[in-house]
């Protein structure tokens, strides 16, 4: 790896391991993810894709190895700095993780409220982002009343509303029909165009084929040669 490539990396993993008891979820993973990159992490179910993403936003610590995110070494990050690490990311969870008792607006606004933004800014920004994802008509709806595609769009709105440097999406089209998947993928592409680094964990080969981004493949917790798609 050249020095300029290393400087351009926003995420670096060095010989990362993650074990759950005797089960190895990730084994010796070394990977650089570059600024404004559109990266797919592919692999079958149970390959360790979700685990890898969780290590990045420190939902879980690595069992061994080093992870650097935007210059922060996660093996030495103090507990009080974890919220600031997570604000670097916009995360689209596989199961959406929307708060069912809060409206669409409140779910998206939560990110900016947590970051201490003022109310006027929050109103403007949330409405604008919901317009971008086509959910401006459902501001006051509760998540259980939305379809899967709509919930995914709200989840994306929440992920991007804080203008994160990195968007992590875990199987973003996994439970969507072709049209909804196309729309969601288009959204992620548009945020990448605006400068965000996008990392998508997926086993959807069609989605990968359409993208043209770099693909890394996980199998049994190990990074393997990128297979031809």
């Amino acid at each position: 790896m050249t020095e300029s490539e290393a400087k351009n990396a926003i995420i670096r993993l060095f010989h990362v391991y993650r074990n759950y008891g005797t089960k190895n979820a990730l084994v010796d993973v070394t990977l650089d993810i570059y600024k404004n990159e559109f990266l797919f992490i592919s692999g079958p179910s149970g390959a360790g894709k979700t685990t890898l993403l969780k290590l990045l936003y420190f939902a879980e610590p690595a069992s061994d190895g080093q992870i650097l995110v935007d210059g922060m070494n996660l093996s030495r990050i103090p507990r009080k700095n974890v919220p600031f690490l997570r604000r670097i990311f916009g995360i689209v969870f596989q199961d959406y993780k929307l708060i069912s008792t809060k409206t669409v607006y409140d779910n998206v606004a939560l990110v900016l409220e947590a970051a201490g933004q003022n109310r006027r800014f929050i109103q403007k920004k949330v409405k604008s982002v919901l317009r971008t994802v086509g959910m401006e008509q459902r501001l006051h709806a509760l998540p259980p009343s939305l379809s899967g595609g709509e919930q995914q769009r709200v989840a994306i709105a929440r992920a991007v509303v804080g203008d994160p440097k990195i968007i992590l999406a875990d199987e973003p089209t996994g439970s969507l029909d072709a049209d909804a998947a196309g729309f969601v993928f288009g959204l992620l592409k548009s945020f990448h165009t605006r400068g965000a680094t996008v990392v998508i964990a997926t086993h959807d080969r069609q989605l990968i084929q359409r993208s043209g981004g770099r693909v890394v493949h996980l199998n049994g917790g190990r990074l393997v040669e990128t297979p031809a798609i």
Binding site: Y57, P83, K97, T101, V111, A114
Partner: protein, 291 residues
């Protein structure tokens, strides 16, 4: 702040039953503790009113020469804590007795000799209204020459003081007990709310919320519970006070038994205590949850 308040109120609305149970518990605790405080205040008033009226009667030996009486009176008047010393010669005492006995005064007519001793009636200053001080002064007087006996109603005042002290002690014990019970209830309510919302809290953390952002509404919720519980408890106490005082006043008649409700600063103090209970309950459960 308004955002935290809004979230706290939303939480209370969503968990109405749990919050109601907590508020009622705090209200009951405040009611019982405040009732003790109210009782203590009024009995203290009563005691000080009685103590103000306390006088020491000093009876002289029959052998006391009349020439030594002015010197003794002067000596008494010079003692610490004594406001006024009146000399009551035995003749005056007998006349007073006759006046008090009215119809039965004829019984005293056939007396060949006045059986009553010369005496001093002593009024105390307000500084010596404490029971211990009064007892010390009485002992000092008893040791003076020519003094036969000193009387100051020690038995009943002493007994009453003991009863008051017992009630005060019971008040403190119950107060502590109810304080702990109320903190326990608030802590449990908040714990249940926290567990029912653990997914939501987890999501907040994942999107970058600091612990303080998550905790603040719970603290406000606890303080609101404490304030509401405190206010309800005090209102209930006031209603009970109105009922009781309306039945006490006509009986007493005397100004001495003028019962009064808790003064404003104390009311504010009790309300703040309720809020502290709420805050403390939150503190306990949040500390455990965020460990």
């Amino acid at each position: 702040m308004s955002l935290y308040l809004k979230r706290a109120i939303d939480d209370i609305r969503q968990n109405r039953f749990l919050n109601l149970v907590t508020i009622v518990t705090i209200a009951l605790s405040i009611l019982i503790v405040s009732a003790f405080v109210l009782f203590f205040i009024n009995t203290s008033d009563l005691m000080s009113a009685w103590k103000k009226g306390v006088r020491i009667m000093v009876y002289l030996k029959s052998s006391t020469p009349a020439s030594e009486i002015p010197a003794l009176q002067q000596q008494l008047a010079g003692m610490y804590g004594i406001e006024q010393v009146n000399y009551i010669p035995k003749e005056e005492a007998l006349n007073l007795m006759k006046n008090q006995m009215k119809r039965q005064s004829s019984l005293l007519e056939n007396l060949k000799e006045n059986p009553l001793p010369d005496a001093f009636e002593i009024r105390m200053t307000s500084a010596t209204q404490g029971w211990d001080r009064l007892e010390k002064i009485a002992l000092q007087i008893e040791n003076l020459p020519n003094v036969d006996e000193v009387e100051y109603g020690r038995r009943w005042i002493g007994r009453f003081t003991n009863v008051i002290n017992l009630f005060t002690l019971a008040g403190y014990a119950l107060g502590t007990l109810f304080f702990m019970a109320a903190v326990f209830f608030v802590a449990n309510t908040i714990r249940l709310v926290l567990y029912s919302r653990r997914d939501e809290i987890e999501i907040m953390r994942l999107v970058g919320a600091e612990d303080q952002f998550i905790k603040a509404p719970f603290y406000i919720e606890g303080i609101i519970q404490g304030a509401l519980g405190g206010a309800i408890g005090l209102v209930a106490l006031f209603i009970a006070f109105l009922f009781i005082s309306s039945s006490v006043q006509p009986v007493s008649g005397a100004q001495m038994l003028q019962v009064r409700f808790l003064p404003l600063p104390l009311l504010a103090g009790i309300l703040v205590s309720g809020m502290i209970v709420g805050w403390l309950g939150c503190f306990v459960s949040l500390k455990q949850f965020f460990k």
